[in-house]
């Protein structure tokens, strides 16, 4: 670094001292000048980040008081309905955190509410990225990192849910034990390995503790780091709009406005979580009692992000367990593993699948409005319906009681929707998107309906239409519409089987399409209106 002028002020000297040894100005320059476009949906990832920070801080507090051990003792604390009951050290210390450590219950509730918000924010952030096509080149790998973050978020949540050693957490672990044991050949070994012998054993809490406070958070932090570096390297995406191109980013730099807003946003989230934690009970472990393998409470559910897997287990038919030469094949249990693997696998490969299907290897920095890619939006909504149906199935018993339905009927409904729901959702969403696109086209070509009816001298009634201002017209017309690409021969002049398959899929997905308004059409419509009305900016359409 060339120093033409020596600093004279104290701050300047200090800055030079740091800069000449660390070279931090590069980082400040890169991060500080990163441009963030202003849109509410771009702040959802931040919510996940901030709630993660809050969860780490509150979790650190909890580690000072939690004993990850399963030795038995008699409860002597202030909670009357448990006094004298034999409980484990882990459960005892969680009760102590709740009732005896000053502020302990508040922090515990903040840790748990924060965890729920963390995964919820991850999910809607991921949905935003999916529906706007922000995962396309060059961001495919960051999408993959994001999927890993969701998986790690679930792992962090589940290992934490299982720590207090109350009845609910033990019931959850029993299901994991069952799933492990249902795996062919290796199942029993894995279960014994994890639990240090037969379930529940005396090792599981301390093992989960290591996972929960060290390995999983370390992976989460590493992945978040990679995720954020990618965000800076790739620059931010932006919605289509006048002046937004594939080569620029229109928005505010991080320093100073955005940083101030982001910092403030952190405290808003902190405040919201404090408010919720102070007023609303979460996971009242004192109600559940100590874990004992025999009782299971009605309404036993996992936290929401594990709900879909639990729901799948609730609706899977029992006859999927069968025997081959005396060996049980427990598809009624381990199909949950197949479903979860399938869902995450589909999420991992989707960016690459779409690029292959469309033969689109270009970079995309301008986002799609969801309606402008009807196929992707339809696939996404089908996925949401698939997920939410399983998720709802996990609360089938509560739904049945509240709506006075038969629990059996609920299961049949969820089973039917498991297959029909996504298919219906796909076609309905696609039609809705195409309809919205037609509406956009109509507005772009003929203007906005003003609800002013005029009567012409010869008696004809017309509604006055108003042409859109250019920046709105831009939003409706400037987009790319995916198109069916027929099978093409490769370099050797052959059409491979895979290419034929791609073409067939492409036809299925992209044959129905509303083309964006072309410049020519726009000019033609303007010309038509101008000649009909004799000029002027108020135009008459039909």
């Amino acid at each position: 670094m060339s120093t033409t002028t020596q600093p004279t002020t104290t701050v300047g000297k200090a800055a030079t001292f740091v800069e000449s040894r660390v070279g931090a100005s590069v980082l400040v320059r890169e991060f500080g000048r990163k441009i963030f476009p202003a849109h509410w949906s771009f702040m959802l990832g931040e919510v996940a980040l901030y709630s993660f920070v809050i969860v780490v801080l509150s979790g650190t507090f909890l580690t000072f008081f939690f004993h990850p051990a399963m030795g038995e003792l008699h409860y002597e604390g202030p909670w009357v309905p448990l006094r004298g009951v034999e409980i484990s050290e882990a459960y005892n210390s969680t009760l102590a955190i709740s009732f005896e450590v000053r502020g302990g219950l508040f922090i515990r509730q903040m840790h748990h509410w924060g965890a729920l918000l963390f995964v919820a924010a991850l999910s809607i952030h991921m949905l935003r990225v999916f529906f706007t096509g922000a995962f396309r080149r060059p961001r495919e790998l960051n999408w993959v990192v994001g999927v890993l973050l969701v998986m790690m978020g679930m792992a962090a949540g589940f290992t934490g849910y299982s720590l207090p050693d109350d009845l609910l957490s033990g019931n959850g672990l029993r299901i994991i034990d069952g799933i492990l044991k249902s795996l062919p050949l290796v199942g029993t070994y894995i279960s014994f390995f994890l639990f240090g012998g037969e379930f529940p054993g005396i090792d599981i809490v301390s093992r989960l503790y290591t996972l929960h406070i060290m390995i999983v958070p370390a992976l989460l932090i590493a992945l978040i780091g990679v995720h954020l570096v990618f965000v800076v390297v790739h620059k931010h995406t932006q919605y289509p709009g006048a002046g937004n191109t594939e080569k620029n980013v229109v928005g505010e730099p991080v320093m100073p406005t955005f940083a101030a807003k982001g910092g403030g946003f952190f405290f808003l989230i902190f405040g919201l979580l404090s408010f919720i934690s102070a007023l609303f009970t979460i996971n009242p472990i004192w109600n559940y009692g100590p874990y004992d393998p025999s009782p299971v409470s009605a309404g036993t559910q996992p936290d929401w992000y594990i709900g879909w897997a639990d729901g799948f287990l609730r609706i899977v038919p029992g006859w999927l367990e069968f025997y081959i030469a005396g060996w049980p094949i427990s598809l009624n249990i381990n199909s949950a593993v197949i479903i979860m693997g399938g869902v995450f696998g589909a999420m991992f490969i989707y960016p690459f699948f779409e690029s292959w299907l469309l033969k689109d290897k270009r970079e995309h920095h301008i986002l799609d409005r969801p309606r402008n890619n009807p196929t992707r939006t339809a696939i996404g909504v089908a996925g949401i319906v698939f997920y939410c149906n399983m998720w709802a199935a996990a609360s089938g018993d509560i739904v049945a009681v509240f709506f006075q339905m038969s629990l059996n009927d609920m299961i049949y409904i969820f089973r039917a929707l498991f297959f029909l729901g996504p298919i219906l959702a796909y076609f309905i969403t696609k039609r809705m998107c195409l309809g919205l696109q037609r509406k956009d086209r109509e507005i772009a070509l003929h203007g906005r309906e003003t609800a002013q009816i005029i009567r012409l001298p010869h008696g004809e009634f017309l509604e006055r239409h108003e042409a859109l201002p250019p920046h709105k017209l831009w939003k409706l017309t400037a987009f790319e519409s995916p198109i069916y690409t027929p099978a093409e021969p490769n370099a050797e002049g052959k059409i491979t089987g895979l290419e034929k398959f791609r073409a067939r899929l492409s036809r299925f997905f992209f044959e129905d399409r509303v083309a964006p308004v072309s410049k020519h059409e726009l000019e033609a419509s303007h010309h038509e209106h101008d000649s009909a009305e004799g000029g002027g900016h108020k135009e008459i359409g039909y």
């Binding site: 448990l82 729920l116 609303f280 299971v296 559910q301 509560i398 009681v401």
Partner: protein
């Protein structure tokens, strides 16, 4: 009026209107469903005669003129006064509608009439009597011991804190909060609807008192953590964070990303 007319197209007008509507209907509902309390009961042998008349007028269509039962209702000989006190006292009987299970409603008879009916059915054959006061005194029970019994015997249907739960084909275990100690005892004793019977060999009267003490303790004490969200566990918590938590978060993002006008 001008003030109102100016604001009726305000974006918040719909929200305000909805709020007002909800508050009005909610308030009206709360007013109309106020319960009236009944007098204390006194039991005597002459009640049997009055009970018989009440029975003939209100119950005999299904249970038979002398409680022998019919195609539409079970026989009541030997069910005991306790069963009647529970079924009639909680409003489950007379049955309002056919269904998988009799639902709780406003009791149709006052305490005196209920006692008369119970005395009559109790006279039909030997069966469990209405429990004595000393078995119901929750202050003498041990809630911790009751909790252990509750988790082992009751929680799989009624949930750990008696919030209720689903059974097969539309049957359900009801929420236990607000249920009197007497009715809890009678339910354990007589096994109403789809509930199994916990007789005195299974759960002794002292055990039953412990269970009552536990149910009172967990349903009547306020939660140390704040609002209970129905004590329904993670489902209610998940719904809350998605609707309230994320709703608030999205409102914040919209606010933060809006430009000054």
């Amino acid at each position: 009026m001008k003030l109102l007319a100016d604001r009726r197209r305000h974006p918040m007008a719909l929200v305000v209107l909805l709020l007002v509507g909800l508050l009005l209907t909610g308030g009206a509902y709360a007013l109309f469903t106020q319960t009236s309390s009944a007098k204390a009961d006194t039991a005597s042998a002459s009640d049997i005669e009055s009970g018989k008349k009440l029975f003939a007028a209100n119950c005999a269509t299904c249970h038979g003129l002398s409680g022998e039962g019919s195609k539409t209702g079970p026989g009541l000989i030997g069910v005991g006064a306790s069963a009647v006190d529970f079924q009639v006292g909680t409003g489950r009987m007379p049955l309002q509608a056919n269904g998988p299970q009799a639902r709780v409603k406003e009791p149709q008879f006052n305490d005196e009439q209920t006692a008369q009916l119970a005395a009559y059915v109790g006279s039909l054959g030997p069966g469990p009597a209405i429990p004595a006061e000393e078995n119901l005194d929750a202050s003498k029970g041990d809630p911790a011991a009751g909790g252990g019994l509750f988790r082992t015997n009751c929680a799989m249907c009624h949930n750990v804190v008696g919030a209720g739960g689903a059974l097969t084909r539309g049957k359900y275990a009801p929420n236990l909060s607000g249920v009197s100690g007497k009715h809890l005892y009678e339910a354990m004793q007589t096994g109403p609807q789809n509930m199994p019977i916990f007789n005195d060999a299974n759960l002794t009267p002292d055990d039953k008192r412990d269970v009552i003490a536990y149910v009172n303790e967990v349903t009547q004490t306020t939660s140390p953590g704040g609002f209970k969200l129905g004590s329904l566990g993670p489902v209610a918590e998940g719904l809350f964070i998605w609707f309230f938590g994320l709703g608030a978060v999205i409102a914040m993002t919209v606010w933060l990303s809006s430009r000054a006008k």
